[in-house]
């Protein structure tokens, strides 16, 4: 309990949620107990599958059908939520209990204007008139720093940016001043600069309303920014609980220690090695524009990438950093030959033709979709070799060796992708990319979809491979911390243009361009960047 905190608004005791009989473990959540006091922010931290979101959803009683067997108590306002009728729960949801979801793009109804959605809690739970509802909605929109509320109130969610949509969600959640606000990964789907603003907003609003906040996240680095107390979950069990500062400074449980150690820091952890060799990749004034429209619509042209020049040498890692929509993936896809460039030149090694599979390979972001679900791992691995006309036996031998190199036993060849974890699948994808002996490996957000501990392992693997094979690597990422850790040089992209480029060490030490500075502040010092200006540094565009 917090020393100054009063009665807890939420007290969970012995919460146990059983999984369906054929799942990989018996309980989604097992004997979890903790409480949230008024005016307190409690973070539940854990990796995917730890049961943190299930815990949050069980408070709202929004569990999926498969998770019906729930025991324990969830005490809220003196009553056990688990024993309330569905009707009574409906009266609480959006009223005394509110929730912010991870993906604002899907949590908002695409067919209703933003204003109508913000008014909805008033319409459902109060007897307010139309005019009053609209006034309150406008007030809420001002409160969450949405620009020009009078203008935005009639817009639809798809006309807003991700950050603005999440602000709308927050406005809805706070409409009736709930006693408890549950935020399930509210910033995970957002860019890092937007993330910092949303965190600051939640914190400042929570201080005003004195609500209890349960903040679910996989990102331990957020905990130091926002939490009073922290609850660490692993495999459905609560492994550590305490004041945020204490847990971060002196983690007692080995799992918490491992999680903390895996957070990529500012440290530049490149191993020492010989200086980079000959030029492998030369991109000159690359531009890519997309045109939409057609016979019955007006044509629109969107410039995704403008005049990007960049080079990668043998044995060198270049990170291309940018937020979503910055054009960094388009650059990667142009180099891999997946997208036709509009103008400019790409030379890889000695070839500059369209098909570059001999020289360039790519590892994609989502390991769940990068392997054909209907093919065995072995079949996927030999695909490229078979295309080169190499015999089945030789190809399988080579694939087996590469699998071992990435830390997967060769028996995996006969299994299907869904039988592996995300990290294992990404290792398989890396092995597949290496079967053709590429000289340049493109990693397109290759570790972004992985849990932080797995992310660290895959990063280490990539570094080792690159060192041993002396290949060049173009590392596309939105995460400056990862870029800082793995790369020799960093190029920062915004709106299709490279804003700044330089050696990783120099760039981290002294970023020149204001946008780079903002990115760095958001990534490395969430608090410092935001508290001074309280989330109004850059308006969402």
């Amino acid at each position: 309990m917090r020393p100054e905190g009063g009665e807890p608004v939420l007290r969970i005791t012995g919460l146990t949620i059983a999984l369906p009989p054929n799942a990989d473990r018996r309980h989604a959540v097992e004997d979890v107990s903790f409480s949230v006091a008024a005016g307190e922010i409690v973070c539940i931290v854990g990796e995917s599958g730890s049961g943190k979101s299930v815990t949050a959803f069980s408070i709202m009683r929004l569990l999926s059908r498969g998770l019906r067997s729930v025991s324990g108590t969830v005490a809220f306002g003196g009553e056990d939520l688990l024993r309330k009728s569905e009707r009574a729960m409906r009266r609480l949801r959006g009223n005394r209990l509110a929730m912010i979801f991870q993906e604002p793009a899907t949590a908002l109804s695409p067919t209703m204007t933003v204003g109508r959605q913000i008014e909805e809690p008033f319409r459902v739970h109060t007897a307010m008139g139309k005019g009053e509802r609209r006034t309150r909605a406008l007030q809420l929109m001002t409160l969450v720093n949405l620009p020009e509320p009078g203008h935005l109130i009639g817009r639809y969610p798809h006309e807003l940016s991700g950050g603005q949509r999440q602000r709308v969600m927050i406005a809805m959640a706070l409409a009736l001043e709930p006693a408890l606000l549950i935020a399930d990964e509210p910033t995970t789907a957002l860019d890092v600069t937007t993330q910092a603003q949303i965190i600051a907003l939640i914190r400042s609003l929570q201080r005003r309303s004195n609500a209890g906040v349960l903040f679910v996240t996989h990102d331990l680095s957020l905990v130091s920014e926002i939490a009073d107390r922290v609850v660490v979950m692993q495999q459905g069990k609560l492994v550590e609980e305490g004041r945020a500062a204490d847990v971060l400074a002196n983690p007692r449980h080995p799992y918490t220690q491992a999680l903390l150690a895996a957070i990529p820091g500012l440290s530049h952890r490149r191993r020492t090695r010989q200086p980079p060799g000959a030029n492998l990749l030369q991109v000159e004034r690359l531009s890519k524009t997309y045109t939409s429209g057609g016979l019955f619509r007006t044509t629109r042209t969107i410039t995704a990438v403008r005049d990007v020049s960049l080079n990668v040498r043998r044995g060198e890692t270049v990170a291309l950093v940018g937020e979503s929509g910055s054009g960094k993936s388009t650059v990667a896809r142009c180099i891999a030959g997946l997208v036709q460039l509009t103008s400019g030149r790409i030379v890889v090694g000695s070839t500059n033709d369209e098909k570059r599979s001999d020289e360039v390979q790519i590892v994609f972001q989502d390991p769940n979709r990068s392997l054909d679900p209907r093919w065995t791992v072995g079949r996927s691995l030999v695909e490229g070799l078979r295309n080169r006309g190499i015999g089945r036996t030789d190809a399988r031998k080579r694939a087996g060796r590469l699998l071992e190199r990435v830390g997967i036993p060769p028996e995996a060849m006969t299994r299907y992708p869904h039988q592996f974890s995300g990290g294992q699948r990404q290792r398989i994808c890396i092995a597949r990319a290496l079967t053709l002996d590429p000289t340049l490996l493109i990693a397109d957000e290759a570790v972004s979809a992985l849990d932080v501990s797995v992310q660290a392992q895959v990063l280490t693997l990539l570094q080792d491979l690159q060192h041993d094979l002396e290949i060049g690597m173009l590392f596309i990422t939105h995460d400056l911390r990862v870029a800082a850790q793995i790369s020799d040089r960093i190029a920062v992209m915004q709106r299709g243009v490279i804003m700044e480029e330089g050696g990783a060490v120099q760039l981290i030490a002294a970023p020149q361009h204001p946008y780079t500075k903002l990115l760095f502040d958001s990534a490395f010092g969430l608090g410092g960047a935001v508290s001074a200006t309280e989330a109004t540094i850059i308006p969402d565009t």
Partner: protein, 292 residues
């Protein structure tokens, strides 16, 4: 940190889950069982049918259902039950052949339209044109131009159903084209035909299986409608539609001539649809992949 410490070990191949999954698909079994029954009826029609379906018995005309004539007799004294038994093969054959034909044509056109940007617009507009005309009109027109035979009926109905298959296949191919595993295959140097046949076609199979069962069912209905209107198979071939057409003018006096083939048709269509729905539950990747 030592590698692999936080990652799960290699999983074992699941076996128990599959048994459970089969157990949940009552619809598939019920539909399948009825279809097997129809299959037996086709194979042993001569044993099952008590009387020759063409045998005319002038003294036993328009007999209501009885122990001797289970489903009654028609205006020529032919046994309705025997005619239904012998009509089973023609009715089911039309359903299966139309499903097969439309699937084959639709898959080829859909794959081409989805994979080759240049011809996509041309193929799809042609298919739109076919879809713009009511199927039954195309069939009637085709049959009145050509001779009324089982081939003509199958061709007319097959071409008419084909755009639905092609649209489905094209949609799947278009969405699969954006999948990273397809892009990975491209970067690995796989030729386009191999990507289409190796990575995309298998993704089409499950939804296609479901759609074709529904096409088979609707083709049987359409065939019955055509025969009922007198523009289907020649009247001497016993099909469920022909039997009903025969009873059309006598519905008030001898409702059994329409009732029993109609019920048989409903049961067959229901069985095929149940089978298709069961198939969808079984093959839907969202249902077959365990939630993490």
């Amino acid at each position: 940190m030592n590698a692999g410490s936080l990652e799960a070990p290699l999983p074992s191949t699941p076996t128990g889950g599959r048994v459970n999954r089969w157990r949940r698909h009552g619809a598939l079994y019920a539909g399948g069982a009825i279809l097997v029954l129809f299959g037996i009826v086709i194979l042993f029609a001569h044993v099952i049918a008590p009387i020759d379906p063409q045998a005319i018995a002038t003294r036993a005309r328009l007999r209501p259902p009885s122990a001797e004539y289970w489903f009654g007799t028609d205006r020529l004294g032919r046994d309705v039950f025997s005619r239904i038994v012998f009509g089973t093969s023609a009715s089911l054959a039309v359903g299966l052949a139309v499903a097969g034909l439309s699937a084959a044509l639709g898959v080829v056109l859909g794959l081409i339209a989805g994979a080759v940007r240049g011809v996509d617009g041309i193929i799809m507009r042609c298919l739109d044109a076919i879809m713009a005309v009511p199927g039954i009109l195309i069939a009637i027109a085709a049959i009145s131009v050509a001779s009324p035979s089982i081939t003509t009926v199958v061709l007319a109905l097959g071409v008419n159903e084909m755009p639905r298959v092609a649209r489905l296949v094209r949609g799947i191919v278009l969405s699969l084209r954006e999948e990273p595993f397809v892009e990975a295959a491209f970067v690995l140097g796989s030729p386009r035909w191999r990507i289409v046949l190796g990575h995309m076609l298998p993704g089409v199979v499950a939804p296609l299986a479901v759609l074709t069962t529904h096409i088979a069912a609707s083709a049987m209905l359409l065939e019955a409608t055509l025969s009922f209107l007198g523009c289907g198979l020649p009247p001497d071939v016993p099909t469920w539609g022909n039997i009903m057409a025969d009873g059309r003018i006598l519905f008030r006096v001898a409702p059994w001539i329409i009732l029993f083939p109609g019920m048989t048709l409903s049961i067959a269509v229901l069985a095929i649809n149940l089978f298709g729905d069961g198939l969808r539950d079984l093959l839907d990747p969202r249902a077959s992949i365990h939630e993490a």
